[in-house]
């Protein structure tokens, strides 16, 4: 029985775009099962739209990584050092 079912279920389980997009973060985090990873990669290889989307998400992540927090306010640093000295002395 299993041998007959297998190709059918594999066909049924091919991803549509909406599912591929939903899996992008899990894929990048390595959180997908081997089977889902294969399905995701197969979809991305076949679908130019989802490939474009995937590239844009990766670029978004890389650009977000370049957002720096504000510089350390020298006054804040001085206050902290003063607090530290107070605590050490106390």
């Amino acid at each position: 029985m299993r041998l007959f079912r297998r190709p059918l279920s594999r066909r049924r389980r091919a991803l549509v775009c909406q599912q591929a997009v939903a899996l992008v973060t899990d894929y990048l985090d390595g959180a997908l099962s081997r089977a889902d990873r294969d399905r995701f990669e197969a979809h991305i290889a076949d679908c130019p739209h989802c490939r474009t989307y995937f590239e844009q998400i990766r670029t978004t992540i890389a650009l977000t990584g370049q957002v720096r927090p504000d510089y350390l306010d020298p006054q804040a640093q001085d206050d902290l050092i003063a607090l530290y000295r107070q605590w050490r002395a106390g």
Binding site: C17, T25, H49, I57, L63, G65, V67, L83, Y84
Partner: protein, 210 residues
């Protein structure tokens, strides 16, 4: 920019540096304290800001947290990284301060979906994405997009902003992010997914219109 080169800046501190710093901090070395403050204070204030109404309160919260760190350094056993421990202390204090200051927290943990991601009944794209990542290789474009992202981050729902900031800017692992925010791995990924999708959507508008 080279596309895959955007490693989060905070990754530069190695585990060996961290152990050395901890030993010096335990020994009461003021310079070690200053080094830690320089490395982490701005990011900690940014994290605290997502819980409290304004920057002054965030600075106060982080200042209190630093005192907690120097007082508690003897008890720090190194089971988590120093960074995770620091972030966790700040989140705990910021949460209590946020409750005190009655900051509204959104009921919807996940936030709205990105409007540019729409799919038909067959699961295919209604309005397929138009390629633009090649243009980002131009340095000036990248700089202006990073500026744009800084503003967009502030417009994300708080929890999405927290997860995206910890993961994609501060460089925490999924596990560390869950520990710091006290959320499940699954929740962490949904929030990260939604947050990144919104940011991509805003960049998409920028690239299509600009």
């Amino acid at each position: 920019m080279r596309r895959r080169s955007g490693r989060p800046y905070a990754d530069r501190v190695t585990a060996a540096d961290e152990v050395g710093l901890l030993d010096r901090l335990r020994a009461g070395d003021e310079q070690a304290f200053v080094t830690l403050v320089r490395q982490h204070h701005p990011a900690l204030v940014r994290l605290a800001s997502t819980y409290v109404p304004n920057r002054d309160v965030a600075e106060e919260v982080v200042q209190e947290a630093w005192l907690g760190v120097v007082r508690g350094i003897e008890k720090f056993e190194g089971r988590s990284s120093l960074k995770t421990w620091l972030y966790r202390i700040v989140v705990n204090r910021a949460r209590s301060a946020g409750v005190r200051e009655h900051r509204e927290t959104p009921a919807d943990l996940s936030g709205p979906r990105d409007p540019s991601e729409r799919f038909g009944s067959d699961g295919g794209w209604v309005d397929p994405p138009v390629p633009w990542t090649d243009q980002v290789d131009d340095r000036l474009t990248a700089v202006s997009l990073v500026d744009r992202l800084r503003t967009c981050l502030d417009r994300l729902p708080d929890v999405q902003r927290q997860v995206v900031t910890l993961r994609d800017i501060d460089g925490l692992t999924p596990g560390e992010t869950c520990t710091v925010l006290g959320i499940s791995e699954a929740n962490q990924r949904v929030l990260l997914h939604r947050g990144r999708a919104r940011l991509r959507g805003w960049l998409d508008v920028e690239m299509r219109e600009g």
